[in-house]
Protein backbone atom coordinates (compact mmCIF):
# COMPACT_ATOMS: atom_id res chain seq x y z
CA UNK A 1 0.00 0.00 0.00
CA UNK A 2 1.58 3.27 -1.11
CA UNK A 3 0.98 6.34 1.02
CA UNK A 4 2.65 9.56 2.05
CA UNK A 5 4.90 11.87 0.05
CA UNK A 6 7.39 10.79 -2.59
CA UNK A 7 9.77 12.12 -5.21
CA UNK A 8 10.64 11.16 -8.77
CA UNK A 9 13.71 9.02 -9.47
CA UNK A 10 15.58 10.99 -12.11
CA UNK A 11 18.89 10.25 -13.77
CA UNK A 12 21.04 12.79 -11.84
CA UNK A 13 20.09 10.99 -8.62
CA UNK A 14 20.62 7.43 -9.82
CA UNK A 15 23.41 7.00 -7.31
CA UNK A 16 22.58 9.52 -4.60
CA UNK A 17 18.93 8.58 -4.01
CA UNK A 18 19.48 4.83 -3.45
CA UNK A 19 22.39 5.71 -1.16
CA UNK A 20 20.21 8.13 0.78
CA UNK A 21 17.34 5.66 1.15
CA UNK A 22 19.66 2.85 2.16
CA UNK A 23 20.83 5.09 5.00
CA UNK A 24 17.47 6.78 5.73
CA UNK A 25 14.54 4.73 4.39
CA UNK A 26 12.01 7.22 5.78
CA UNK A 27 13.46 10.20 3.90
CA UNK A 28 10.61 9.76 1.42
CA UNK A 29 7.58 7.46 1.53
CA UNK A 30 7.71 6.28 -2.08
CA UNK A 31 9.45 6.93 -5.36
CA UNK A 32 7.92 7.39 -8.78
CA UNK A 33 9.80 6.23 -11.87
CA UNK A 34 9.24 7.23 -15.48
CA UNK A 35 8.70 3.89 -17.19
CA UNK A 36 10.39 4.92 -20.46
CA UNK A 37 13.71 5.55 -18.70
CA UNK A 38 13.81 2.00 -17.39
CA UNK A 39 11.95 -0.03 -20.01
CA UNK A 40 14.17 1.46 -22.73
CA UNK A 41 17.22 1.58 -20.47
CA UNK A 42 19.93 -0.93 -19.75
CA UNK A 43 21.37 -2.80 -16.78
CA UNK A 44 22.49 0.39 -15.03
CA UNK A 45 18.92 1.65 -14.90
CA UNK A 46 17.66 -1.77 -13.78
CA UNK A 47 20.20 -1.97 -10.98
CA UNK A 48 19.36 1.55 -9.81
CA UNK A 49 15.67 0.67 -9.69
CA UNK A 50 16.31 -2.55 -7.82
CA UNK A 51 18.28 -0.65 -5.17
CA UNK A 52 15.38 1.77 -4.76
CA UNK A 53 12.84 -1.04 -4.53
CA UNK A 54 14.71 -2.61 -1.65
CA UNK A 55 14.08 0.60 0.34
CA UNK A 56 10.70 2.11 -0.57
CA UNK A 57 7.59 1.35 -2.65
CA UNK A 58 7.74 2.41 -6.29
CA UNK A 59 5.04 3.81 -8.59
CA UNK A 60 5.29 3.55 -12.38
CA UNK A 61 4.46 6.55 -14.54
CA UNK A 62 4.39 6.71 -18.34
CA UNK A 63 4.86 9.62 -20.71
CA UNK A 64 4.64 8.16 -24.22
CA UNK A 65 1.66 5.81 -24.50
CA UNK A 66 -0.36 8.53 -26.26
CA UNK A 67 -3.67 7.51 -24.72
CA UNK A 68 -5.71 9.89 -26.88
CA UNK A 69 -3.66 9.44 -30.04
CA UNK A 70 -4.95 8.31 -33.44
CA UNK A 71 -2.51 5.42 -33.95
CA UNK A 72 -2.88 1.92 -32.48
CA UNK A 73 -0.69 1.28 -29.46
CA UNK A 74 2.83 0.19 -30.30
CA UNK A 75 2.70 -3.53 -29.45
CA UNK A 76 6.44 -3.73 -28.87
CA UNK A 77 6.16 -0.90 -26.35
CA UNK A 78 3.13 -2.18 -24.47
CA UNK A 79 4.57 -5.69 -24.37
CA UNK A 80 7.93 -4.46 -23.03
CA UNK A 81 6.14 -2.23 -20.54
CA UNK A 82 3.99 -5.11 -19.28
CA UNK A 83 7.04 -7.34 -18.90
CA UNK A 84 8.88 -4.59 -16.98
CA UNK A 85 5.88 -3.90 -14.69
CA UNK A 86 5.62 -7.61 -13.94
CA UNK A 87 9.33 -8.03 -13.36
CA UNK A 88 9.37 -5.20 -10.83
CA UNK A 89 6.01 -6.12 -9.28
CA UNK A 90 4.50 -2.71 -10.04
CA UNK A 91 0.77 -3.07 -9.64
CA UNK A 92 -0.54 0.16 -11.20
CA UNK A 93 0.45 2.37 -14.07
CA UNK A 94 -0.28 6.06 -14.63
CA UNK A 95 -0.37 7.86 -17.97
CA UNK A 96 -1.36 11.29 -19.24
CA UNK A 97 -4.79 12.11 -20.58
CA UNK A 98 -3.42 13.56 -23.80
CA UNK A 99 -1.88 12.47 -27.10
CA UNK A 100 1.77 12.63 -28.08
CA UNK A 101 2.42 10.50 -31.14
CA UNK A 102 0.93 9.67 -34.53
CA UNK A 103 2.03 7.20 -37.14
CA UNK A 104 5.21 6.25 -35.31
CA UNK A 105 6.40 9.85 -34.83
CA UNK A 106 6.70 10.92 -31.20
CA UNK A 107 6.32 14.63 -30.46
CA UNK A 108 7.78 14.28 -26.92
CA UNK A 109 5.04 16.73 -25.86
CA UNK A 110 1.74 16.03 -24.08
CA UNK A 111 -0.84 17.48 -26.45
CA UNK A 112 -4.48 18.22 -25.65
CA UNK A 113 -7.50 16.69 -27.33
CA UNK A 114 -10.65 18.63 -28.16
CA UNK A 115 -13.00 18.36 -25.20
CA UNK A 116 -16.14 16.62 -26.49
CA UNK A 117 -17.95 13.33 -26.03
CA UNK A 118 -16.36 11.66 -29.07
CA UNK A 119 -12.85 12.27 -27.74
CA UNK A 120 -13.92 11.24 -24.23
CA UNK A 121 -15.27 7.93 -25.58
CA UNK A 122 -12.08 7.42 -27.58
CA UNK A 123 -9.73 8.18 -24.68
CA UNK A 124 -11.77 5.99 -22.33
CA UNK A 125 -11.74 3.05 -24.76
CA UNK A 126 -8.00 3.40 -25.25
CA UNK A 127 -7.46 3.55 -21.49
CA UNK A 128 -9.40 0.31 -21.06
CA UNK A 129 -7.42 -1.25 -23.90
CA UNK A 130 -4.09 -0.24 -22.34
CA UNK A 131 -5.25 -1.52 -18.97
CA UNK A 132 -6.14 -4.88 -20.55
CA UNK A 133 -2.80 -5.06 -22.35
CA UNK A 134 -0.89 -4.31 -19.16
CA UNK A 135 -3.22 -6.47 -17.04
CA UNK A 136 -3.39 -3.85 -14.29
CA UNK A 137 -5.19 -0.59 -13.54
CA UNK A 138 -4.23 2.49 -15.54
CA UNK A 139 -4.84 5.83 -13.87
CA UNK A 140 -5.00 9.02 -15.90
CA UNK A 141 -3.30 12.34 -15.20
CA UNK A 142 -4.78 15.70 -16.16
CA UNK A 143 -2.27 17.71 -18.22
CA UNK A 144 -1.52 21.37 -18.85
CA UNK A 145 -2.96 22.79 -22.07
CA UNK A 146 -2.36 26.18 -23.60
CA UNK A 147 -5.23 26.40 -26.09
CA UNK A 148 -8.74 25.04 -26.15
CA UNK A 149 -8.82 22.90 -29.28
CA UNK A 150 -11.30 23.65 -32.09
CA UNK A 151 -14.51 21.67 -31.75
CA UNK A 152 -14.43 21.56 -27.94
CA UNK A 153 -17.86 21.46 -26.29
CA UNK A 154 -16.93 20.95 -22.62
CA UNK A 155 -14.51 22.39 -20.11
CA UNK A 156 -11.58 20.31 -18.93
CA UNK A 157 -13.15 19.23 -15.64
CA UNK A 158 -16.38 18.00 -17.26
CA UNK A 159 -14.45 16.26 -20.02
CA UNK A 160 -12.02 14.62 -17.59
CA UNK A 161 -14.97 13.42 -15.53
CA UNK A 162 -16.60 11.91 -18.61
CA UNK A 163 -13.39 10.10 -19.64
CA UNK A 164 -12.80 8.70 -16.16
CA UNK A 165 -16.41 7.59 -15.73
CA UNK A 166 -16.41 5.86 -19.10
CA UNK A 167 -13.03 4.22 -18.42
CA UNK A 168 -13.91 3.58 -14.79
CA UNK A 169 -10.38 4.47 -13.76
CA UNK A 170 -8.51 6.44 -11.14
CA UNK A 171 -7.31 10.02 -11.40
CA UNK A 172 -3.75 11.16 -10.90
CA UNK A 173 -4.60 14.75 -10.08
CA UNK A 174 -1.80 17.11 -11.05
CA UNK A 175 -2.57 20.27 -9.09
CA UNK A 176 0.26 22.17 -10.75
CA UNK A 177 -1.33 21.51 -14.14
CA UNK A 178 -4.77 22.41 -12.83
CA UNK A 179 -3.47 25.73 -11.48
CA UNK A 180 -1.46 26.53 -14.62
CA UNK A 181 -4.56 25.88 -16.73
CA UNK A 182 -6.67 28.13 -14.50
CA UNK A 183 -4.11 30.95 -14.76
CA UNK A 184 -3.69 30.60 -18.52
CA UNK A 185 -7.42 30.42 -19.25
CA UNK A 186 -8.62 33.00 -16.69
CA UNK A 187 -10.49 30.48 -14.59
CA UNK A 188 -11.01 30.03 -10.87
CA UNK A 189 -8.63 27.22 -9.82
CA UNK A 190 -10.64 26.29 -6.76
CA UNK A 191 -13.84 25.96 -8.77
CA UNK A 192 -11.97 23.86 -11.33
CA UNK A 193 -10.63 21.68 -8.54
CA UNK A 194 -14.04 21.09 -7.03
CA UNK A 195 -15.44 20.24 -10.47
CA UNK A 196 -12.92 17.42 -10.89
CA UNK A 197 -14.05 13.85 -10.07
CA UNK A 198 -12.38 13.97 -6.68
CA UNK A 199 -13.77 10.61 -5.59
CA UNK A 200 -11.49 9.06 -8.22
CA UNK A 201 -8.25 10.67 -7.01
CA UNK A 202 -5.63 7.99 -6.36
CA UNK A 203 -2.49 10.12 -6.42
CA UNK A 204 -1.48 13.78 -6.56
CA UNK A 205 1.37 15.53 -8.39
CA UNK A 206 2.78 18.88 -7.25
CA UNK A 207 5.37 20.86 -9.21
CA UNK A 208 6.71 24.26 -10.15
CA UNK A 209 6.00 26.33 -13.24
CA UNK A 210 7.18 29.58 -14.80
CA UNK A 211 5.67 32.47 -16.73
CA UNK A 212 7.08 32.49 -20.26
CA UNK A 213 6.99 36.07 -21.46
CA UNK A 214 7.64 35.28 -25.12
CA UNK A 215 4.56 33.07 -25.24
CA UNK A 216 2.43 34.94 -22.71
CA UNK A 217 1.57 31.80 -20.77
CA UNK A 218 2.56 30.07 -17.56
CA UNK A 219 4.43 26.91 -18.52
CA UNK A 220 4.27 23.70 -16.53
CA UNK A 221 8.03 23.09 -16.57
CA UNK A 222 8.67 21.17 -13.32
CA UNK A 223 11.82 23.23 -12.83
CA UNK A 224 11.26 25.05 -9.55
CA UNK A 225 9.69 24.85 -6.12
CA UNK A 226 5.95 24.32 -5.69
CA UNK A 227 4.22 27.73 -5.73
CA UNK A 228 2.25 28.76 -2.64
CA UNK A 229 -0.94 28.86 -4.72
CA UNK A 230 -0.55 25.19 -5.64
CA UNK A 231 0.20 24.23 -2.06
CA UNK A 232 -2.92 26.10 -0.99
CA UNK A 233 -5.00 24.11 -3.49
CA UNK A 234 -3.38 20.97 -2.14
CA UNK A 235 -4.41 21.92 1.38
CA UNK A 236 -8.00 22.35 0.21
CA UNK A 237 -7.92 19.03 -1.60
CA UNK A 238 -6.53 17.17 1.41
CA UNK A 239 -9.17 18.76 3.61
CA UNK A 240 -11.81 17.45 1.26
CA UNK A 241 -10.63 13.93 0.46
CA UNK A 242 -8.01 13.13 3.08
CA UNK A 243 -4.41 12.09 2.44
CA UNK A 244 -3.50 10.39 -0.84
CA UNK A 245 -0.01 9.53 -2.12
CA UNK A 246 1.56 12.78 -3.27
CA UNK A 247 4.57 13.28 -5.50
CA UNK A 248 6.94 16.23 -5.60
CA UNK A 249 7.81 16.46 -9.31
CA UNK A 250 11.01 18.18 -10.43
CA UNK A 251 12.13 17.18 -13.92
CA UNK A 252 14.14 20.10 -15.32
CA UNK A 253 17.10 21.89 -13.72
CA UNK A 254 17.00 19.10 -11.17
CA UNK A 255 18.38 20.28 -7.81
CA UNK A 256 20.26 18.37 -5.14
CA UNK A 257 18.38 15.90 -2.98
CA UNK A 258 18.52 18.35 -0.06
CA UNK A 259 16.37 20.79 -2.00
CA UNK A 260 13.93 18.04 -2.96
CA UNK A 261 13.71 16.87 0.63
CA UNK A 262 12.89 20.44 1.71
CA UNK A 263 10.00 20.30 -0.73
CA UNK A 264 8.94 16.94 0.66
CA UNK A 265 8.92 18.50 4.14
CA UNK A 266 6.67 21.36 2.94
CA UNK A 267 4.24 18.86 1.43
CA UNK A 268 4.37 16.50 4.38
CA UNK A 269 3.39 19.36 6.69
CA UNK A 270 0.12 19.64 4.77
CA UNK A 271 -0.31 15.95 4.03
CA UNK A 272 -0.10 14.82 7.63
CA UNK A 273 -1.85 17.77 9.27
CA UNK A 274 -4.15 16.44 12.01
CA UNK A 275 -6.58 19.31 11.39
CA UNK A 276 -6.99 18.21 7.80
CA UNK A 277 -7.45 14.59 8.74
CA UNK A 278 -10.15 15.55 11.24
CA UNK A 279 -11.88 17.74 8.70
CA UNK A 280 -11.85 15.07 6.02
CA UNK A 281 -12.91 12.26 8.32
CA UNK A 282 -14.93 13.86 11.16
Amino acid sequence: MIAGVGIGFRRPHFDALPALLEARPTAVDFVEVVAETFVLGGPHEARALERIQRCVPVLAHGVSSSIGGPTPFDEDWTSALKHWLERHRLTEFTEHLSWSSAGGAHSLELLPLPFHTDSARWAAARTRELSERLERPVWLENTAFYAVQPGSEQDLSAWTTEVLERADCGLLLDLANLWVNAVNHDRDPEADLLAMPLHRVRQVHLAGSRFEEAWGVRVDDHASAIPAEVLSLYQKLMARIGPVPTLVEWDQSIPTLDVLLDEVARVRAVHSSRDLLDEAHP
Binding site: G42, P70, P150
Partner: protein, 224 residues
Protein backbone atom coordinates in the same frame (compact mmCIF):
# COMPACT_ATOMS: atom_id res chain seq x y z
CA UNK B 1 -7.69 -0.80 -32.24
CA UNK B 2 -9.88 0.81 -34.85
CA UNK B 3 -12.93 2.98 -34.39
CA UNK B 4 -11.50 6.49 -34.27
CA UNK B 5 -14.63 8.66 -34.42
CA UNK B 6 -14.90 10.70 -37.67
CA UNK B 7 -14.86 13.98 -35.73
CA UNK B 8 -11.59 13.01 -34.08
CA UNK B 9 -10.11 11.66 -37.31
CA UNK B 10 -10.80 15.04 -38.88
CA UNK B 11 -9.22 16.77 -35.91
CA UNK B 12 -6.01 14.74 -36.22
CA UNK B 13 -5.88 15.37 -39.98
CA UNK B 14 -5.22 18.98 -39.08
CA UNK B 15 -3.57 18.72 -35.67
CA UNK B 16 -0.80 16.30 -36.68
CA UNK B 17 0.53 18.51 -39.51
CA UNK B 18 0.20 21.55 -37.26
CA UNK B 19 2.31 20.19 -34.44
CA UNK B 20 4.59 17.73 -36.20
CA UNK B 21 4.62 18.48 -39.92
CA UNK B 22 7.48 20.17 -41.68
CA UNK B 23 6.31 23.74 -41.95
CA UNK B 24 8.48 24.79 -44.87
CA UNK B 25 7.81 28.43 -45.48
CA UNK B 26 4.58 28.48 -43.46
CA UNK B 27 4.75 29.97 -39.99
CA UNK B 28 2.98 28.34 -37.06
CA UNK B 29 0.11 30.84 -36.95
CA UNK B 30 -0.69 30.40 -40.64
CA UNK B 31 -0.97 26.65 -40.09
CA UNK B 32 -3.13 27.20 -36.98
CA UNK B 33 -5.34 29.55 -39.00
CA UNK B 34 -5.91 26.84 -41.59
CA UNK B 35 -6.81 24.40 -38.86
CA UNK B 36 -9.46 26.80 -37.53
CA UNK B 37 -10.83 27.45 -41.00
CA UNK B 38 -11.60 23.73 -41.26
CA UNK B 39 -12.53 22.84 -37.68
CA UNK B 40 -13.87 26.07 -36.20
CA UNK B 41 -12.24 28.73 -34.05
CA UNK B 42 -10.38 28.04 -30.86
CA UNK B 43 -11.66 30.26 -28.03
CA UNK B 44 -8.01 30.67 -27.06
CA UNK B 45 -7.11 32.35 -30.37
CA UNK B 46 -4.76 31.54 -33.22
CA UNK B 47 -1.52 32.48 -31.48
CA UNK B 48 -2.24 30.19 -28.54
CA UNK B 49 -3.26 27.35 -30.83
CA UNK B 50 0.01 27.73 -32.71
CA UNK B 51 1.99 27.42 -29.47
CA UNK B 52 1.73 23.64 -29.59
CA UNK B 53 4.12 23.59 -32.52
CA UNK B 54 6.55 25.72 -30.49
CA UNK B 55 6.36 23.33 -27.54
CA UNK B 56 7.02 20.32 -29.77
CA UNK B 57 9.98 22.06 -31.35
CA UNK B 58 11.29 23.04 -27.90
CA UNK B 59 11.06 19.46 -26.67
CA UNK B 60 12.87 18.20 -29.76
CA UNK B 61 15.64 20.79 -29.38
CA UNK B 62 15.91 19.97 -25.69
CA UNK B 63 16.30 16.25 -26.49
CA UNK B 64 18.94 16.99 -29.13
CA UNK B 65 20.79 19.34 -26.79
CA UNK B 66 20.87 16.72 -24.03
CA UNK B 67 21.94 13.93 -26.38
CA UNK B 68 24.63 15.97 -28.11
CA UNK B 69 25.77 18.18 -25.23
CA UNK B 70 29.43 17.47 -25.99
CA UNK B 71 29.08 18.07 -29.70
CA UNK B 72 27.33 21.35 -29.00
CA UNK B 73 30.05 22.57 -26.63
CA UNK B 74 32.83 21.63 -29.01
CA UNK B 75 31.16 23.13 -32.04
CA UNK B 76 30.34 26.34 -30.20
CA UNK B 77 34.05 26.90 -29.60
CA UNK B 78 34.65 27.09 -33.33
CA UNK B 79 31.32 28.34 -34.64
CA UNK B 80 29.17 29.80 -31.86
CA UNK B 81 25.48 29.08 -32.39
CA UNK B 82 25.95 26.86 -35.43
CA UNK B 83 24.84 23.72 -33.59
CA UNK B 84 21.60 25.39 -32.48
CA UNK B 85 20.91 26.54 -36.03
CA UNK B 86 21.55 23.08 -37.44
CA UNK B 87 19.31 21.49 -34.80
CA UNK B 88 16.53 23.93 -35.72
CA UNK B 89 16.77 22.61 -39.28
CA UNK B 90 16.86 19.01 -38.06
CA UNK B 91 13.83 19.15 -35.79
CA UNK B 92 11.66 20.65 -38.51
CA UNK B 93 10.73 17.30 -40.00
CA UNK B 94 12.46 14.78 -37.73
CA UNK B 95 10.84 13.24 -34.68
CA UNK B 96 11.64 10.65 -32.07
CA UNK B 97 10.65 7.16 -33.19
CA UNK B 98 9.85 5.97 -29.66
CA UNK B 99 9.27 7.25 -26.16
CA UNK B 100 13.04 7.47 -25.80
CA UNK B 101 13.74 11.15 -26.60
CA UNK B 102 17.24 10.34 -27.82
CA UNK B 103 15.77 8.39 -30.76
CA UNK B 104 15.28 11.78 -32.41
CA UNK B 105 19.02 11.72 -33.14
CA UNK B 106 18.79 8.77 -35.56
CA UNK B 107 20.35 9.87 -38.82
CA UNK B 108 21.73 13.15 -37.49
CA UNK B 109 25.31 12.07 -38.26
CA UNK B 110 24.46 11.54 -41.92
CA UNK B 111 22.64 14.87 -41.95
CA UNK B 112 25.79 16.56 -40.65
CA UNK B 113 27.92 14.83 -43.28
CA UNK B 114 25.79 16.37 -46.01
CA UNK B 115 25.58 19.89 -44.58
CA UNK B 116 26.27 22.88 -46.76
CA UNK B 117 28.29 24.79 -45.66
CA UNK B 118 30.02 21.71 -44.29
CA UNK B 119 30.13 20.77 -40.63
CA UNK B 120 33.56 20.32 -39.02
CA UNK B 121 35.04 16.95 -40.06
CA UNK B 122 34.76 15.50 -36.55
CA UNK B 123 31.11 16.49 -36.06
CA UNK B 124 29.41 13.54 -37.82
CA UNK B 125 31.50 11.05 -35.86
CA UNK B 126 30.65 12.77 -32.59
CA UNK B 127 26.99 12.61 -33.60
CA UNK B 128 27.06 8.82 -33.90
CA UNK B 129 23.81 7.88 -32.20
CA UNK B 130 24.93 4.70 -30.46
CA UNK B 131 28.01 6.41 -29.03
CA UNK B 132 26.02 9.46 -27.92
CA UNK B 133 23.30 7.37 -26.29
CA UNK B 134 25.88 5.46 -24.28
CA UNK B 135 27.69 8.64 -23.28
CA UNK B 136 24.38 10.31 -22.36
CA UNK B 137 23.33 7.40 -20.19
CA UNK B 138 26.72 7.44 -18.52
CA UNK B 139 26.50 11.12 -17.63
CA UNK B 140 27.05 11.88 -14.01
CA UNK B 141 26.77 15.36 -12.59
CA UNK B 142 29.63 14.82 -10.16
CA UNK B 143 32.00 14.45 -13.12
CA UNK B 144 32.75 10.87 -12.42
CA UNK B 145 35.59 10.58 -10.00
CA UNK B 146 34.54 7.01 -9.22
CA UNK B 147 35.60 4.85 -12.13
CA UNK B 148 34.33 1.50 -10.89
CA UNK B 149 31.19 1.65 -13.00
CA UNK B 150 30.60 3.01 -16.45
CA UNK B 151 27.95 5.40 -15.30
CA UNK B 152 30.55 7.32 -13.35
CA UNK B 153 32.78 8.07 -16.31
CA UNK B 154 32.66 11.49 -17.73
CA UNK B 155 33.04 11.79 -21.48
CA UNK B 156 34.16 14.96 -23.15
CA UNK B 157 35.17 15.38 -26.75
CA UNK B 158 38.71 15.85 -27.73
CA UNK B 159 38.95 19.35 -29.07
CA UNK B 160 42.64 19.91 -29.58
CA UNK B 161 43.19 17.23 -32.18
CA UNK B 162 40.92 16.84 -35.17
CA UNK B 163 39.94 13.26 -34.70
CA UNK B 164 36.85 11.66 -33.24
CA UNK B 165 37.52 10.71 -29.67
CA UNK B 166 36.41 11.30 -26.14
CA UNK B 167 38.08 11.67 -22.82
CA UNK B 168 37.27 9.50 -19.84
CA UNK B 169 37.94 10.89 -16.43
CA UNK B 170 39.45 8.15 -14.32
CA UNK B 171 41.58 7.59 -11.28
CA UNK B 172 45.26 6.79 -11.73
CA UNK B 173 46.99 4.15 -9.64
CA UNK B 174 48.16 6.80 -7.21
CA UNK B 175 44.57 7.97 -6.76
CA UNK B 176 44.87 11.18 -8.77
CA UNK B 177 42.20 11.97 -11.34
CA UNK B 178 43.34 11.81 -14.92
CA UNK B 179 41.82 12.09 -18.33
CA UNK B 180 42.26 9.20 -20.72
CA UNK B 181 41.49 9.61 -24.39
CA UNK B 182 39.22 6.89 -25.81
CA UNK B 183 37.36 6.27 -29.03
CA UNK B 184 34.17 4.51 -29.92
CA UNK B 185 35.75 1.04 -29.69
CA UNK B 186 36.96 1.68 -26.17
CA UNK B 187 33.62 3.04 -25.06
CA UNK B 188 31.79 0.06 -26.52
CA UNK B 189 34.20 -2.37 -24.87
CA UNK B 190 33.94 -0.55 -21.57
CA UNK B 191 30.17 -0.55 -21.78
CA UNK B 192 30.16 -4.29 -22.55
CA UNK B 193 32.51 -4.95 -19.63
CA UNK B 194 30.12 -3.12 -17.36
CA UNK B 195 27.16 -5.24 -18.36
CA UNK B 196 25.61 -3.39 -21.29
CA UNK B 197 24.32 -5.89 -23.81
CA UNK B 198 22.29 -3.89 -26.30
CA UNK B 199 25.25 -2.45 -28.18
CA UNK B 200 26.18 -2.01 -31.82
CA UNK B 201 28.79 -4.37 -33.23
CA UNK B 202 32.18 -2.65 -33.41
CA UNK B 203 34.41 -2.88 -36.47
CA UNK B 204 37.51 -5.08 -36.23
CA UNK B 205 39.68 -2.05 -35.53
CA UNK B 206 37.30 -0.80 -32.85
CA UNK B 207 37.10 -4.25 -31.29
CA UNK B 208 40.90 -4.53 -31.11
CA UNK B 209 41.23 -1.08 -29.59
CA UNK B 210 38.47 -1.83 -27.11
CA UNK B 211 39.87 -5.16 -26.02
CA UNK B 212 43.29 -3.60 -25.52
CA UNK B 213 41.73 -0.84 -23.47
CA UNK B 214 39.78 -3.18 -21.20
CA UNK B 215 42.86 -5.41 -20.70
CA UNK B 216 44.71 -2.36 -19.42
CA UNK B 217 41.86 -1.35 -17.15
CA UNK B 218 42.99 -3.44 -14.18
CA UNK B 219 46.36 -1.74 -14.25
CA UNK B 220 45.34 1.75 -14.99
CA UNK B 221 42.08 2.07 -13.10
CA UNK B 222 41.19 1.67 -9.47
CA UNK B 223 39.13 -1.52 -9.15
CA UNK B 224 35.67 -1.45 -7.63
Amino acid sequence: MSGLPPSLARYFEHAVPLVMGSLGELDDETRAGWMQASLGDSPSGTARLALARGFVRWQARHAMGALYARLRRTWDIEEPGRFDGVVMQWVDGHHASSGDPSSIGAGFDAFLSALDPPAPPWAPEMADLAFSQIAFRCEHPAHGLRPHALRFYQFVPQTTERRPAAWVLSLADDGRAQWVGVGKGEVLALARAQGETDLPEPSDTERDAGERFVRELSVRFVPS
